[in-house]
Point group: C2
Chain length 469, copies 2
């Protein structure tokens, strides 16, 4: 098939990965730029992906008993300051409101960069007894962080996210991993962040790390265990069954529109976006072939109606653009399955299904339409997952010395796993010499030796290193 002009405008990822990424975001009409740096416009096609992610995650959260709430978007500076580590981390990247109408405010307010402090203030008001626990709250909202370097989805001054806040320890990160693997077809590495990389104010931060096409790491979601640090700072207490005043233990967790950046860089190719079927705004595009011929439009419409009735998100394109244009357009937009039907197909009571991930064509009897669509979409999902898993496995290397780690990073990219003594000095050294930060201390530990390859002291943990977005 002749390549279309529109698609040729996408830079090949091997030539310039960053430009390929920007091209896909723009040409597939996911985002537009606004007049403020780092504040992106989510266009209908991009926002619909987020809506699908939201819908599925929200249902999962509610199943576990989490309840949605909405907190104010502004935080008084004095409230942000209540937890010392937290404010030190976030204050430098807050946007500050100093005027309300024509009047200067007595105290400045920041637009939430995250809402731990607001949740804590509220928890203090509503929690008295052990009968009020656990509290499992979630909020869908946008947050602001005044970043210097920004990129669509990956790093914005404003981004959309959910933030869960609970008053008992849970294993939320496990659920994220399931979500990424089962819904987004993204394989993940699960583990704990180092002291250096953990969230401001947390006792421990857990993360799921994914590998992109260019072999860089993307932190796709995090959860934090706060112990009772925030509870003490905000004086949140409850009366236990033994009638004692106690401080509850606290967690928070969140994933954001960053996930969409991860989907693009995990599954996309040189023809554009490739979307996992479960979150694709359009799962199946129906294209009539030789649509001016008698009966073709009707047959295509019937087919589209049947697929819609079976619960799929379906679009039919009967515009007068050429067949080549249409194929290229929906490939670029990452629609997982294309279904074509023309006069010859009608004669044989069949249609042609083309998978987006590998362009494989299958002719399907119209009698089996719905079952075949289900099968093909599952095949696309599995194909995407397997390809991403292969990328992750093939580009995860073991290193036994700092030099070796550096060489792997320079020549191959990907994750480098080593043993580690646990000292921040060695993290700084790795960053300085090999340009990699610690990604996580995986839950699935391996024994690669006895000593830290950076300082030579006894090793405590196996750790993953990488260059991250």
């Amino acid at each position: 098939m002749a390549k279309d002009k529109k698609v040729e405008q996408i830079t090949d990822m091997e030539v310039d990965f960053a430009q390929w990424y920007t091209d896909v975001c723009k040409k597939a009409e996911l985002i537009d730029y606004s007049s403020i740096k780092g504040m992106f416009i989510y266009r209908p096609y991009g926002y619909a992906i987020w809506e699908n992610i939201q819908k599925m995650m929200d249902a999962e959260f509610k199943k576990t008993g989490a309840e949605n709430v909405y907190m104010p978007m502004l935080i008084p500076e004095s409230l942000l300051q209540k937890e010392k580590d937290h404010v030190e981390g976030f204050a430098p990247e807050c946007a500050w409101v100093t005027m309300g109408g024509n009047e200067k405010l007595e105290e400045r307010y920041c637009i939430r960069p995250t809402s731990e402090t607001l949740f804590c203030e509220h928890f203090r008001n509503v929690i008295q007894s052990h009968r009020d626990l656990p509290k499992m709250y979630n909020q869908w909202c946008s947050v602001l962080r005044w970043e210097k370097t920004t990129r669509p989805f990956l790093r914005g001054r404003e981004f959309l996210w959910q933030e869960g806040h609970t008053l008992h320890a849970t294993e939320q990160e496990a659920r994220y991993a399931d979500f990424c693997e089962n819904i987004l077809a993204m394989p993940v590495t699960r583990g704990q962040k180092t002291e250096k990389e953990k969230f401001n104010g947390a006792e421990a931060t857990y993360t799921i790390e994914c590998m992109m096409h260019d072999r860089k790491a993307l932190q796709a979601g995090t959860s934090h265990y706060f112990g009772d640090g925030f509870a003490r700072a905000f004086d949140i207490t409850f009366t236990s069954k033994d009638n004692q005043r106690e401080y509850p233990h606290q967690t928070s967790w969140g994933v954001s529109t960053r996930l969409i950046g991860g989907i693009i860089m995990t599954h996309g190719d040189n023809n554009g976006l490739v979307l996992p079927p479960k979150i694709a705004p359009v799962q199946i595009v129906v294209i009539p072939v030789a649509q001016h011929k008698e009966g073709v439009l009707e047959a295509a419409q019937k087919l589209a109606d049947r697929l819609s009735a079976a619960g799929y998100r379906v679009k039919m394109d009967t515009s007068d653009n050429s067949m080549g244009w249409k194929c290229a357009e929906y490939e670029m937009k990452g629609v997982p399955l294309r279904v074509e039907i023309g006069p010859k197909d009608m004669e044989q009571n069949q249609c042609c299904m083309v998978r987006r991930d590998n362009r494989e064509k299958t002719f399907v009897s119209l009698n089996d339409l719905e079952a075949a669509a289900a099968e093909q979409l599952q095949a696309v999902h599995d194909g995407l997952y397997q390809r991403a898993l292969k990328n992750l496995q093939e580009h995860t290397y073991v290193a036994h010395s700092l030099e070796e780690a550096k060489q792997i990073q320079e020549e191959k990219g990907g994750f480098v796993k080593t043993m580690w003594c646990g000292e921040e000095a060695c993290e700084l050294k790795m960053k300085e010499v090999a340009g990699m930060s610690s990604r996580c201390i995986p839950f699935a530990q391996e024994d690669l030796g006895d000593t830290c390859p950076i300082c030579g002291k006894p090793a405590k943990k196996m750790i993953y290193w990488g260059v991250a977005y």
Copy 2:
């Protein structure tokens, strides 16, 4: 049934309507106050009402072809200034961001009070040809307006809403009216706002006005027709079929969490909240009677399971609180239907259903459980609507002189309809003398006479006056 202490804390509405309202918002756990005036915390029970409203409205919007998008929350001052009337109206109530991190911004940004300017800037980028029209966009977000007087749901410095922005004239207000009547059981008066009361920058504003228990008016939703005013200010043009450059016509419309305030004040009573079944977070509460007796809990659970399976939002309360406490609690929370089952009911294969709106009890055979629940919930909806309609009709009066209007307002409240010359001077006079603002010029006009009762000049329209929230 003995009244419960918790419920007795709600002030009677006849004693102090404003206090009754605040009591209901707090005791039914709809909202909490934050440390910033006018920025409310939407607690799980209050937020769930909004989620239900959202879900139903969103489905309606999508049916008409509207697409959801997300625009940045900040607007550069220079962008807000592009449409003169618009900025004059909104600038005095904007919250301004002047610092990003530790740096003073070169230009200050306001947090969106509404997003016309952002949509226009984006429309200019994405619209070239008549083939790009119509554009029907919608956004769910929160907006800020730095109000001096604030009340939960009714007037907040931050509130949640949807804002639709389209590039062709539509009759959205008609859809709102349907939504309020069919889903929220709130009868409305539809019409056009006067020049004085219209939206900043609009050519015409349409409104739906509801009457509250205290006979004050609540503007429940508005839509605006902009003509091509914004398009000219923002230089949005398209190439017509005749290959001419033209300015598109524009509308916007929105409803907000204010609706929840309207629901409370339309349907609530001295026992607390009364929720229309379609948006109630819990539609049916199941309460076992004498639950320590053998088999009661199992029977209640089976009943709750059947109702859940039939698609209702069901809660069962097996706590050790007294029967009286439970009845009062769920009355206060406005749960539309209470279902009780105890040993005597079990013997007779029945349960007892109690409607929230009029406390009517019905004994129902368990064989007919699902059908009876559907019938009772519909009866609650209809009952609420009829009661609200009666309130609206009984408290809408005709006046033929300014004095008469004043007297009606002082003695009875409600809507006063008169003829009107069309002059703003007469609106100001009515406000000064009778304390009422114009609510709308109803689409359903009536001929009440030839002259304006305020100035005596020839009348042009029939108009509604009222005291508004």
